[in-house]
């Protein structure tokens, strides 16, 4: 651990934020076009975030502030651990469990702060978000478990590296097609995209956990959301879609993956939370288990392509 | 060193004396029991002939290590019972002395017919005692069943006499193996049923509930530990050393004993009255003990008898006190009764825990020996039953204890104010005795080597060679 590690970490943070916010802005335009609208400017998301940071804010007690800081801190730490096209701020720290559990500290912080506001909508939103997490995470974790078993490593960058060199056929999503499908569906859940967005339903529970945030807290939440999106998409990208051999390839793949998710989600209705759980336990979970059994007992898709 | 006949003669003599001096009845009784107890400690193993005729023709008393344990145990318990309930003895002193003579006779005699006589003496005394509760209906029941049992026993020995020409136990034991199992079937069966009534084996123990459930703090322990203990010792003596059992018969008796055990424990699990719990538990334990005797595990059986009768003495005394002070022995109406009588409660708890076989109490030692013995005999089914029943037993005992110790509704923290009204259950003297007896259970269970030395005196009981547990075994090869 040298100072340079931290500097690199900061660079990753900054780059991730700018990159993802741009992509989000771009996707707002894509969404608008799908809805036959003109759409906002591509940098609208930046304007929104900075505007939110600029406004005055209220607090409901120290936990309201602390939770937000803890959430952003945890998420930032997670971003620093994400390997991007072979570049890691802290080498050997890209263990998939560390990333997925460190992500949870951000969520916990946010949930804590939201519940600390004393607003029931916030608590309902949190309860839905956690239930949603229980739904999508298990199929996903089973598939990731299969990957770890197959490649005998839990390092995200190593798994990404092992998929490269064979073109598209090397991707885990292709080698383990069912697992790829599960991961792709789980990505919707992770990102809170439709049909799995009932925990922030604006008209029903007044945007759930975000209900009491205004001003800088809301700005923090937006930054957090961008970074979290970066983590989640990167994780799926690295694990299932081959990561990227260079930053450029990585960025392009990333953009395509995220835009794809966004486009699909735009034509989806919304699941109730228990329907979401049922769905995830009916289809992706079964896929994940079949994929796991295939890999563990038959060994298909591990070392060679067929 | 001294003559075991005294154990029978002295109570009888004193019984006559107390008929004459009615006023001093209870002191004479106390004196008699005291003398008997002291004497019991000083008798030695051997054979005593009464009346000059040599056995097999004459009457003799046989003192083996097995008998010795029984005599000491039963006399001591009798003494404790009498001391504890000296205020209740009153007009029963004659009967009690007679019963004591009968009991000692049953334990000591080496003659089958004498056994019948002593048994009758004891049982008739018991009929009278059972009438104390003024529930004559139950006494009649007991009387009828007891008489039928005695008749069966008498028939059995008549047939044996017909077959062997002798009634001396040693003589009979020597001659019986020469006979065929079919010839022996009926006499053994008759004797078994006759003894079975007193031992409380299940289908023939219908009298127990009525008699025990209404007995007071004197009668209840007398029945539950003293007469029951005696009956068990006699059962052991007859069925281990005298009567040879064919395999089928062993099997049948074993099944019956185990059924008694299981049904007894199950029935106890169901009860709500303290005395009924205890009496069904006694039935169950009797079943287990007979099963042990039949399987030849004499040592384990003796330890279990000790554990059981001592525990039951304490528990029945206290249960008797419940009805005496609170007019009920339903444990729901007695909730928190031990809050005010902590020492009594501790004695009761220790006795109860010993009964369920909690480590460091003698009941556990018994259980350990049972398991070791059964496993040694290659029997893997009975240990399972024993352990399962231990769970059932533990369940009802803990339910009882919790109710008696912790008052308050479910969902409330129990407080002293929820308990039943404050009354002193036992006098200081009785409390002290209960506690001391309870301590004996602990000491006996902890100093295992001493216990085993006292019980066996270094020789197998009734020829029981199966292994039993002593401390040095646990230390491996250290």
């Amino acid at each position: 651990m040298t100072v340079m590690n931290f500097v690199y970490g900061f660079i990753i943070l900054l780059a991730a934020f700018i990159f993802q916010t741009t992509i989000t802005g771009f996707n707002r335009k894509v969404t608008a076009r799908i809805q036959k609208r003109y759409g906002p400017r591509w940098y609208q998301q930046f304007l929104d975030i900075f505007k939110a940071l600029r406004k005055s804010s209220i607090t409901h007690g120290w936990i309201f502030d602390f939770g937000v800081i803890m959430a952003l801190g945890g998420i930032m730490a997670t971003v620093i651990f994400i390997p991007v096209a072979g570049f890691e701020a802290f080498p050997n720290m890209d263990n998939v469990y560390i990333i997925s559990y460190l992500l949870a500290i951000g969520m916990l912080g946010m949930a804590m702060s939201a519940a600390g506001s004393g607003n029931p909508w916030a608590s309902i939103g949190v309860s839905r978000a956690l239930t949603n997490m229980l739904a999508y995470d298990i199929p996903l974790m089973i598939v990731i478990f299969t990957l770890i078993f197959a490649f005998d490593t839990a390092s995200v960058s190593e798994i990404a590296a092992m998929q490269q060199g064979m073109g598209i056929l090397g991707w885990n999503a292709i080698r383990m097609p069912l697992g790829g499908i599960v991961a792709f569906i789980a990505l919707f859940g992770m990102l809170g995209k439709k049909p799995f967005d009932s925990f922030i339903a604006p008209a029903e529970i007044a945007s759930g956990p975000m209900v009491e945030y205004g001003g800088k807290h809301l700005g923090f939440m937006f930054i957090l959301h961008e970074l979290m999106t970066f983590i989640e998409v990167s994780l799926i990208l690295n694990l299932f879609f081959g990561g990227g051999s260079s930053i450029l390839v990585y960025a392009i793949k990333y953009a395509i993956l995220y835009t794809l998710v966004n486009i699909i989600s735009q034509v989806m209705p919304r699941y109730k939370i228990d329907q979401a759980v049922k769905f995830f336990y009916r289809v992706p979970l079964v896929f994940a288990i079949i994929q796991g059994l295939v890999v563990i007992f038959l060994g298909w898709g591990v070392s060679v392509w067929f | 060193m001294n003559n075991p006949v005294l154990l029978i003669i002295i109570p009888l003599l004193l019984a006559f004396v107390s008929v004459i001096i009615k006023k001093a009845g209870k002191w004479i009784l106390l004196l008699g029991v005291l003398i008997n107890t002291v004497l019991a400690f000083f008798i030695t193993t051997g054979e005593t002939i009464i009346g000059g005729f040599l056995p097999p023709a004459g009457i003799n008393l046989v003192v083996t290590q097995f008998t010795l344990v029984g005599v000491i145990l039963i006399n001591s318990l009798m003494l404790l019972t009498i001391i504890m309930s000296i205020d209740l003895v009153g007009k029963y002193s004659v009967i009690l002395l007679t019963a004591l003579a009968g009991i000692n006779g049953m334990l000591l005699t080496g003659d089958l017919f004498n056994l019948f006589i002593f048994m009758e003496i004891t049982v008739i005394a018991a009929y009278i005692l059972s009438a104390q509760a003024k529930k004559y209906h139950h006494t009649i029941t007991y009387l009828i069943i007891g008489s039928v049992g005695s008749t069966f026993y008498l028939l059995g020995i008549i047939l044996l006499y017909h077959l062997t020409g002798s009634l001396n136990m040693a003589d009979v034991a020597a001659k019986l193996p020469l006979l065929t199992t079919k010839e022996l079937l009926v006499p053994i069966l008759l004797i078994f049923i006759g003894i079975g009534v007193e031992v409380k084996l299940l289908p023939v123990s219908g009298w127990v509930k009525g008699v025990y459930a209404h007995a007071n703090r004197l009668i209840a322990p007398l029945f539950a530990s003293i007469i029951a203990g005696t009956a068990l010792f006699v059962f052991g003596k007859l069925f281990v050393s005298v009567l040879p059992l064919s395999d089928t018969l062993t099997m049948l008796i074993l099944v019956m004993s185990v059924m008694t055990f299981v049904f007894g424990e199950f029935a106890a699990f169901k009860q709500k009255q303290v005395k009924e719990i205890l009496l069904f538990s006694s039935i169950g334990q009797a079943g287990l003990i007979t099963a042990l005797f039949i399987s030849g595990l004499v040592y384990a059986a003796v330890i279990l008898i000790i554990s059981n009768v001592v525990s039951k003495l304490i528990m029945f005394t206290i249960a008797g006190a419940f009805t005496e002070k609170y007019q009920t022995d339903n444990y729901h109406s007695l909730s928190g009764v031990f809050v005010h009588n902590k020492i009594t409660g501790i004695a009761f708890t220790i006795a109860a825990l010993s009964m369920t076989g909690i480590p460091l109490l003698i009941g556990f030692y018994a259980k350990l020996n049972i398991l070791i013995g059964f496993f040694h005999a290659g029997n893997y089914v009975l240990p399972v039953i024993v352990l399962l029943m231990t769970i059932v037993e533990g369940a009802y005992i803990i339910k009882l204890l919790l109710a008696l110790w912790a008052p308050g509704k479910e969902g409330q923290v129990s407080l002293e104010s929820f308990a039943v009204e404050k009354k002193q259950l036992l006098s200081v003297k009785n409390t002290a005795i209960c506690l001391i007896v309870a301590l004996v259970l602990i000491v006996g269970g902890t100093l295992i080597d001493t216990t085993s030395k006292i019980v066996t005196n270094g020789q197998p009981l009734l020829g029981d060679e199966s292994p039993y547990f002593i401390i040095s075994q646990s230390k491996g090869g250290e």
Partner: protein
């Protein structure tokens, strides 16, 4: 210093405590703290004499690393929970007995962990069972105590069967030697394995035996719940350890059918562990009583520990053993905080609480750290152990068990968050306006345990060194630490670095936060209510039916809960039948039976 000296000292101290308690029970409660502290120190000193043999009366002991490890965990939990004892003396019906049993059960656990022979093991085991049974009944439920005893008795009696069976076969009671006699007798080994393990399973609350846990933990005196959950449950893990180490289950079943390299009997038990993870998690999510919730979480975490220990390898075993500590500490902390809340407010029902953070910030922080650990989120202790277990499972490819582990781990976010939100966050009810923070005396254990959780999370090396010692003792591959980094075959984990980077991220966020304009403080009631005026805090507090959609999904009751009840009713029915058949007041009935018996016997004898 010999172990016997320690044991006798402790026994003497507990008797002294009892006598003091008779005079002044509060002083006696302070004695429990002192005694458990003395125990802690003495045990610490005993570390140097590992390998010592000792015996007294019928007990024999051997000081082993694993025993030392287990008893240290236990004593830490006992010591820290003892700080609460003085505050509950008023609420106990038998305060002096409570103090005595508290210490005796501690001694019982220590004796059990160092036992060299079965009898010692069993006697100390039963001592703990009975003392804790009597303690639990001082709480608010007698039934829980009853159920606790019955389930424990099932376990211990079946285990006694196994012990005696082994003794019969081997002729020795010494644990480390006796099991050797089973080699080459697979059927016997199978029976012994399952029966011996049963006590452990019932104690750790594995699936069909978990019913007692929520009842007992939920209604035991608040001061004893931390001990039950953090401490006594772990006795089961010790039995599991014996069954894989001394019993050498892997060798005994080496010829049997294997699943992913795990012999089928062990796999079955592991599946039970997995089921209890799922059941514990689902039930924990559904609870309204905070203590019951934590109790069900103990069921789930017991599953992790069992799976970890049963895998008996370099990775998952270390994980299981570490989880034992981290869960013991986390769950003791959580129970202590809930106990303090209950002490101040008088309830543990989450739907009746709320907003405690504004009154008890320290308690809140402590609880927060405990649940972060319990949910397995870095940088707390629980993460390292879960990481090891998950890596171990991935190493073996145990898919279904891993699926349950994932379910438990994500589900734990749900159930740990619920008390956090419903008890500490949200609206403060007016009736709790005057609630005070925990007193200094109560804060001490919270600080100690929190520091421990953090230490384990950041420097797991401290514990993993000991675990490596245990692994060496058991003859399996030791866990490898390079500096602060845990290095295993399929991954590395540097917890210190995770902690530092988390701190770095937190710092950046903090700087941005401070740079922006200061926020205005508003009251809790000033929240978005769709512009409607609400003046009742209770109405704005979301705490009952917290996970309503999830509860809807899992509404169907599962049958095992009633199993014991059904068995009990059946026993009563049979008992009733026996009573009515054989205990009739009519002598004619008895005579009828005599004839029947005679007939059966006669026929049996003749045939």
């Amino acid at each position: 210093m010999t172990f016997i000296t320690v044991l006798i000292t402790l026994l003497a101290l507990s008797v002294v405590t009892y006598l003091v308690s008779l005079i002044n029970n509060k002083l006696g409660a302070y004695f429990t703290i002192v005694t458990s502290l003395v125990t802690l120190l003495l045990l610490f000193l005993l570390k140097n004499s590992i390998g010592q043999l000792a015996s007294i009366s019928l007990f024999t002991f051997k000081l082993t690393t694993v025993g030392w490890y287990f008893s240290m965990v236990m004593v830490v939990v006992y010591f820290t929970s003892a700080f609460l004892n003085p505050f509950w003396m008023k609420k106990m019906i038998y305060p002096a007995a409570y103090n005595l049993f508290y210490l005796v059960s501690l001694i019982g656990t220590i004796g059990m962990f160092f036992a060299r022979d079965f009898i010692t093991l069993f006697i100390f085991w039963e001592t703990v069972v009975w003392t804790s049974t009597f303690i639990i009944q001082m709480g608010k439920s007698r039934k829980s105590s009853y159920v606790y005893y019955v389930v424990s008795a099932i376990g211990s009696m079946v285990t006694l069967f196994a012990m005696m069976l082994v003794y019969q076969v081997s002729g020795t009671l010494e644990i480390s030697v006796a099991f050797n006699a089973l080699t080459g007798q697979p059927v016997l080994a199978l029976i012994v394995f399952f029966t011996f393990l049963l006590a452990g399973l019932s104690k750790i609350g594995i699936f069909p035996f978990h019913v007692w846990l929520p009842m007992a933990h939920g209604s035991a005196p608040h001061t004893f719940s931390p001990v039950l959950s953090g401490g006594l449950v772990k006795m089961g893990a010790f039995i599991a350890y014996i069954s894989v180490s001394a019993f050498a289950a892997y060798e005994a079943f080496s010829s049997s059918f294997t699943i992913m390299g795990i012999p089928a009997p062990i796999y079955i038990i592991m599946v039970l562990g997995a089921i209890s993870i799922v059941v514990g998690t689902v039930m924990a999510i559904r609870q309204d009583d905070a203590k019951k919730l934590l109790a069900y979480s103990s069921v789930a975490n017991g599953g992790y520990i069992l799976i970890g220990i049963l895998l008996f390898d370099q990775l998952a075993f270390a994980g299981g053993m570490l989880h034992l500590v981290s869960h013991a500490i986390a769950s003791a902390t959580a129970f202590i905080t809930i106990a303090i809340v209950a002490h101040r407010t008088g309830t543990t029902k989450m739907s009746k609480l709320g907003g405690m953070i504004h009154k008890m910030p320290i308690t809140y922080t402590v609880y927060l750290i405990a649940i972060i650990s319990m949910a397995g989120i870095p940088p707390m202790g629980g993460f390292v152990s879960k990481w090891l277990i998950l890596q171990g499972l991935a190493d073996h490819g145990l898919l279904f068990i891993a699926a349950a582990a994932f379910f438990g781990s994500i589900g734990s976010f749900m159930y740990v968050f619920r008390p956090l939100s419903a008890v500490f966050l949200g609206q403060l009810a007016p009736k709790h306006e005057n609630v005070k923070e925990a007193s200094i005396m109560m804060q001490i254990p919270m600080y100690l345990l929190t520091i421990a959780t953090l230490l384990i999370g950041v420097f797991p090396k401290i514990i993993l060194k000991v675990i490596a010692g245990i692994q060496a003792e058991a003859g399996i591959q030791e866990i490898v630490m390079v500096g602060n980094t845990i290095v295993v075959a399929n991954g590395v984990l540097d917890t210190f670095r995770v902690f530092v980077v988390f701190g770095y991220g937190f710092l950046i966020a903090l700087v941005i936060f401070i740079l922006r304009r200061k926020s205005r403080r508003v009251t809790l009631m000033d929240t978005y209510t769709s512009a409607e005026f609400v003046h009742t805090p209770e109405l704005l507090h979301y705490s009952s039916n917290f996970y309503a959609p999830f509860e809807r999904l899992t509404k169907k009751p599962y049958p095992v809960l009633n199993l014991y009840e059904k068995v009990s009713i059946k026993i009563k029915e049979i008992g009733h039948m026996a009573e009515s058949l054989f205990s009739s007041p009519k002598p004619a009935v008895t005579i009828f039976w005599i004839i029947i018996v005679f007939a059966i016997f006669f026929l049996g004898g003749v045939l």
